[in-house]
Amino acid sequence: MPSQTINGDTLTATYSVGTASSILISAVIGDGQLGDSAVWLDGNLLTTGNVNHFDIGSAGDLRGHELKFRSIASGLNPQTLRTCVTYFLAGGTTDDDYTLAKPVASDAGSVVYEATFQLV
């Protein structure tokens, strides 16, 4: 399924983990901008920094739980005011990705993004 782009800084969605032995997640800050992310599972911190193909566990362990991302994208790139973050979830029934996009309000500003996934 989906590859979706959303003009905004907040996302709530579901992700079908299927029967995967491992679910991999990534958070990519785009447009050449600077940024970092943090990831929680049911409120427990999993990782921070550059989240790239991070293994969060098997489908059996994850089903019924809540996965939450928080990212910060800062307007380092002087060529554009745009910022965006793409959240990738792979290994489940489908590989999904969601891009959230929002311009910084002023030069060298930052945007806070949050995405929450119910794992089913």
């Binding site: 800084d9 800050i29 920094g49 928080r70 910060i72 380092l76 030069d107």
Partner: protein, 359 residues
């Protein structure tokens, strides 16, 4: 007022109005408000320097320059340049900071390529009782650059400071607002921009062509000059980073810039091909920049040289003025080899005005 000058004035007013509408929480430096001299301006011979430092092209930039050869104009700039960086006119969600900061050769070409057009407006010149019409000249240019080398220790320090600061907001129990995160991280972001330019070589290549339009008629266009040049430059690492405040020490920057340029000048009957080789040293603070340059010209004509001093001053966050004085190449100007240019540049700030749709 000719239609072209009317267009130039309208564009300048629009850009200035756009700039006023933008939020500017921090004082901008001279380097931030300058619209880089585009290749199209260089080929027309109205750029204040012949050895321009490689710069980051904005998505859209506009420059107006007034030369001392203008016989009329009432103070209104006669020359207009517009530069566009096509890559940044659309979203780039897959481009990470690492790819942007250390691009492959191909990626670097994409993200730095810009196209410029410029005009040098025609005018009437009166000598005694004779009035002659000087035709308008148009130029088109292309440039791209490649940054070489690893991140400097300074850049790595600033990056580590940014990550540490960002982490405090990422782990905050409640979601922080954009405003509070922006206020805390902005010094680190601005420091990072400066640090990325220090201690690394930037190689810029450019090409440009100009044509003369007799009677302001497109059907009577004739190619005038063609040129291609390469500009290696290096900014010395002079700043130090304070992780507590996220700022760099504010010391004037020092750049070394060199140029190698081949030109084909079809405005002369002989000695049409020439090679320029030269260098420029540039000292720049937040509001003032002073540089000296020297260029040797070779080719199938007489060996000649240009030596000049350029000063630039930031008047406001959106306007800067420049002045060039020195000795020009022999034969460049029929009135002598004195080089004296005064320019005023309007800019839409350090960011382009083209934005994605509001969420």
């Amino acid at each position: 007022m000719t239609p072209l000058r009317t267009l130039a004035l309208a564009a300048a007013i629009a850009v200035a109005a756009s700039a006023r509408a933008q939020t500017a929480p921090d004082a901008l430096k001279l380097d931030d408000v300058k619209t880089p001299v585009s290749p199209a301006f260089v080929i027309l011979g109205v750029a204040p320097t012949a050895v321009e430092r490689p710069t980051t092209p904005r998505a859209v930039g506009l420059a107006l320059i007034s030369g001392n050869t203008s016989s009329s104009g009432g103070g209104l700039p006669r020359d207009l340049a517009l530069e566009v960086a096509p890559y940044w006119l659309s979203e780039r969600p897959a481009l990470t900071f690492a790819q942007y900061d250390h691009p492959s050769f191909w990626q670097s070409l994409q993200q730095t390529t810009s196209i410029s057009v410029a005009t040098k407006n025609g005018t009437e010149v009166t000598t005694g009782t004779t009035t002659t019409q000087v035709p308008s000249i148009g130029g088109i240019g292309l440039r791209a650059s490649w940054t070489l080398g690893e991140s400097s220790p300074l850049e790595q320090q600033v990056l580590a400071g940014y990550h540490a600061k960002a982490k405090t907001f990422l782990l905050q129990p409640t979601r922080p607002t954009d405003e509070e995160v922006s206020a805390a991280l902005r010094p680190f972001v601005l420091a990072m921009r400066d640090a990325m330019k220090q201690g690394r070589w930037i190689i810029e290549a450019a090409a440009a062509s100009s044509a003369v339009f007799q009677n302001n008629n497109l059907n009577q266009a004739q190619t005038q000059k063609n040129a291609i040049w390469i500009t290696p430059s290096y900014r010395f690492q002079r700043s130090t980073f304070d992780p507590a405040t996220g700022t760099l020490t504010q010391v004037p920057t020092v750049d070394f810039v060199s140029v190698l340029r081949y030109s084909d000048d079809r405005t002369v009957a002989e000695d049409r091909n020439m090679i320029d080789a030269g260098a420029r040293f540039l000292w720049e603070s937040d509001t003032i920049a002073i540089s000296a340059e020297h260029i040797e010209r070779f080719g199938n004509g007489p060996h000649t040289r240009r030596t000049s001093i350029l000063g630039e001053y930031k008047v406001t966050d959106n306007i800067y003025v420049s002045a060039t004085f020195g000795r020009n190449f022999a034969g460049e100007n029929p009135n002598g080899n004195l080089l004296a240019l005064f320019g005023i540049n309007f800019n839409a700030g350090r960011k382009p005005s083209i934005l994605p749709p509001a969420p």
